[in-house]
């Protein structure tokens, strides 16, 4: 997909001035936070479950090969097929092979892995018609955009924008009146998509979990689109990444108690669906074929380095919802598939640090993401680890490296440091001429562009202390 993470800074500035985006973000902001807080407060065992969940994932990752093999064996025992893909390209080729060369209408349930591999684009190039069936995904597909949030893909859209989109796209179905109320918008999408559900031969969904014990893939949804996308078509294809596997059904239950609460503040979502193989001989509906495409795309490398903890991520979106940077700029500014704190770790690891050099730095390391992460992923530490890598590989700007070197030279020489800073503060005090602060100051535009700079008191503490 279009990779614009290099343009982060510019995109962030555009986002800050985008009136519609800012309105949408302002509406979303408090809701997720308050709902999660209430849901966590209502579960006294939350912290214990969190500890257990972390142990489950750590154990699984430490035995990932064995659990993936068990999962594969169980899928095949139930009549399904597992396909392995090292890269996004391999994953797309596999799926294209399953669908075949004749142009088809393909249903899609929401799947971030399908975004990661840019599946729609790949299949559309082969003439297939992709139908996003999650309402949020459907909206942004109409707008030719990408998800700006991993669980609420259209969170950046206002109701008015959605009304306009439907009014532009839906007259071809005979729906000519603009719909403005939420209920009417949802009804119209239901009506348009219902026909498509009933007339597609292929359905693709993601997976929140893969269960080694049974060979099941699991989706966690609210709309029911992921279910219609897999029970009505003849072929159900699941896109999932390798770290989604958990050992048992009971382990999944533990993780589920965290997922809904962390994501939307729900104890459980409307639908949790386990899919195991194709329809059985005596079943009267369900897909005739069941395929799971397992994607690596750098995850096996993360398993062996300091980023292994990131593989515990269950994609709940809590880190996005609690990130003040995400809250200010939304998801598109990050320039790839995964935004917010988890994205700022994953994106550089998946598309290359040099292509996303800003992301690890665009964070105040305030730690709120780690505080709410149900899997206790040390996101700030991971962002720092990426900063270390950038510094080692000299990806950071020459200017900031120079400033850092000069500062470090002084900081390691206390006497010189005190002489230089003592003089500098006195000069600054003089320049302030009793006003207490600067509205602008040469070389400090980054600061004074948006706030005054308090003037120093005058003599440094150290200088005054020595004379005490």
């Amino acid at each position: 997909m279009a990779l614009t993470a290099r343009e982060f800074k510019h995109q962030a500035e555009v986002a800050l001035h985008d009136v519609n985006l800012q309105r949408a973000l302002a509406k979303a902001k408090g809701g997720f936070v308050a709902k999660r807080r209430a849901a966590v407060a209502a579960l006294p065992e939350f912290e214990e479950i969190r500890t257990a969940a972390r142990a489950i994932k750590n154990h699984t990752l430490a035995n990932l090969d064995a659990y993936l093999e068990q999962f594969e064996r169980k899928v095949e025992e139930s009549g399904g097929k597992v396909h392995w893909a090292r890269t996004p390209e391999e994953a797309c080729e596999t799926i294209q092979g399953l669908i075949g060369s004749e142009p088809r209408q393909v249903l899609k349930g929401k799947s971030m892995v399908s975004e990661e591999i840019d599946l729609n684009h790949a299949l559309e190039q082969h003439g297939h018609t992709m139908v996003e069936t999650d309402l949020g995904e459907y909206i942004i597909q109409l707008a030719h955009e990408r998800p700006s949030h991993i669980i609420a893909p259209a969170v950046h859209k206002t109701r008015e924008q959605i009304t306009d989109l439907f009014h532009t796209e839906h007259p071809k179905y005979g729906l000519t009146q603009p719909v403005t109320e939420v209920g009417a918008i949802v009804d119209e999408a239901r009506q348009v998509l219902r026909t498509k559900f009933l007339n597609s031969e292929f359905g693709i969904t993601g997976a929140n979990f893969l269960i080694a014990e049974t060979g099941s893939t699991v989706i966690v949804t609210n709309e029911g689109n992921g279910d219609l996308s897999q029970i009505l078509p003849r072929v159900h294809i699941v896109t999932a990444s390798i770290e989604k596997v958990v050992p048992t059904l009971d382990d999944m239950s533990t993780l589920l108690r965290l997922l809904g609460r962390s994501a939307t503040g729900q104890e459980i979502t409307s639908y949790t669906t386990l899919s195991t193989g194709p329809r059985r001989a005596d079943d009267r509906d369900g897909p005739e074929e069941f395929h799971v495409v397992l994607l690596d795309n750098g995850r096996s490398t993360m398993l062996g380095n300091e980023f292994r903890d990131m593989l515990r991520c269950i994609r709940c979106g809590a880190c996005l919802n609690h990130c003040p940077v995400y809250g200010a700029i939304g998801g598109h500014a990050y320039g790839w598939v995964y935004p917010g704190p988890m994205g700022s770790v994953l994106t550089p690891l998946m598309i290359g640090l040099e292509n996303a050099a800003d992301l690890p730095h665009a964070c105040t390391l305030n730690g709120r993401c780690q505080e709410v992460c149900p899997m206790s992923i040390p996101l700030p530490d991971m962002l720092r680890a990426l900063r270390f890598k950038e510094h080692e590989r000299r990806i950071t700007s020459a200017r900031s490296r120079g400033a850092l070197r000069a500062w470090a030279y002084l900081a390691r020489r206390p006497r010189l440091y005190q002489a230089v800073t003592g003089l500098a503060m006195r000069v600054l005090r003089q320049l302030a001429r009793g006003r207490g602060r600067f509205r602008s100051l040469p070389l400090a535009a980054g600061w004074t562009g948006s706030r005054d700079l308090p003037a120093p008191q005058g003599k440094t503490f150290q200088a005054q202390w020595r004379r005490r």
Binding site: K9, A12, E13, L16, P324, V325, A328, I329, H361, A362, C363, T364, L365, N366, G367, R368, R384, L386, R387, F388, K389, E390, H391, T396, S400, L404, W407, A408, A411, R412, P414, Y417, Q418, T421, A424, M425, G434, R435, G436, R437, R439, A444, G446, W447, G449, S450, R451, D452, L453, P454, A455, P456, Q457, K459, T460, F461, Q462, Q464, W465, R466
Partner: protein
């Protein structure tokens, strides 16, 4: 508690040293009042966070070794900053994972060092603040102190002893102010949005002043308050606790 005076070194932190010495003197006064013998080692500069958070691990380790050496001989090391203290306590030990010489020394420093308000509450026990300030204040929880060191109730319980001071909590008091060290100059527009939100909440709290435990946040917040023409004054919590708010608030001129 032992009758012998605690031998405390003040890590004044670079921002306090340069911009707001009054905070350092307030810290000294509070520590002395709590029965400590306070020293200010001359060889101190900065905790190394600018290097650490810019990805320069080697420079960070050099500075850390210097700080560890400088503060080796004191019972306690106290700083009026959750951020700098978090660096010493949480991050220094991780800089020397396989270093049998400096690893233990970093861990030893981590054991002995405290942020000011948590030191006063947790180590000195119930100290008598005995000061008054007829004002209403709101308290901004700085991120590192809050999340790395668990500083939340300590400053509030101390402020509760200040006669006449009304604490009025703002919305989202635990949300970052947008300072973030070099973040605020690398991404000034994002930082501006964050500090504007913070300032809106401060103003909405109706308080006369905003207090905090980290000068970085306070410079950022007061700078934005002044840019917006707000009358809300910013002080470091130590200044209030020590009864040293007679000088102009952060970013204000004499007589403003």
């Amino acid at each position: 508690m032992s009758e012998e005076k605690k031998n405390v070194a003040l890590f004044v932190t670079c921002l306090v040293d340069l911009f707001r010495p009054n905070v350092g003197f307030a810290a000294v006064r509070l520590l002395e009042k709590a029965g400590c013998r306070v020293s200010v080692p001359a060889a101190q500069t900065c905790c190394g966070q600018p290097a650490y958070n810019s990805g320069d691990r080697k420079t960070t380790a050099d500075i850390a070794r210097q700080v560890i050496r400088t503060f080796a001989d004191y019972d306690y090391v106290v700083a009026p900053s959750g951020s700098c203290l978090g660096m010493l306590k949480e991050h220094y030990p991780r800089l020397f994972p396989d270093d049998s010489a400096w690893g233990p020394r970093a861990a030893d420093l981590a054991e002995r060092c405290y942020e000011l308000t948590s030191f006063l509450v947790e180590v000195c026990g119930c100290m008598d603040i005995a000061t008054s300030l007829p004002a209403s204040a709101t308290y901004h929880d700085s991120c590192s102190g809050l999340r790395e060191l668990g500083i939340k109730q300590q400053p509030r319980s101390l402020l509760g002893q200040v006669e006449g001071l009304q604490l009025s909590e703002m919305e989202d008091t635990e949300v970052c102010c947008g300072f973030g060290g070099t973040f605020c100059v690398k991404y000034p527009q994002i930082s501006e949005r964050m500090v504007s939100d913070k300032v809106d909440n401060i103003i909405a709290s109706g308080a006369d002043m905003v207090l905090g435990g980290d000068l970085g946040c306070l410079l950022n917040i007061s700078g934005r308050l002044k840019r917006q023409g707000s009358k809300v004054r910013a002080y470091h919590v130590a200044e209030v606790l020590a009864g040293m708010t007679d000088l102009p608030a952060i970013g204000e001129a004499d007589g403003e």
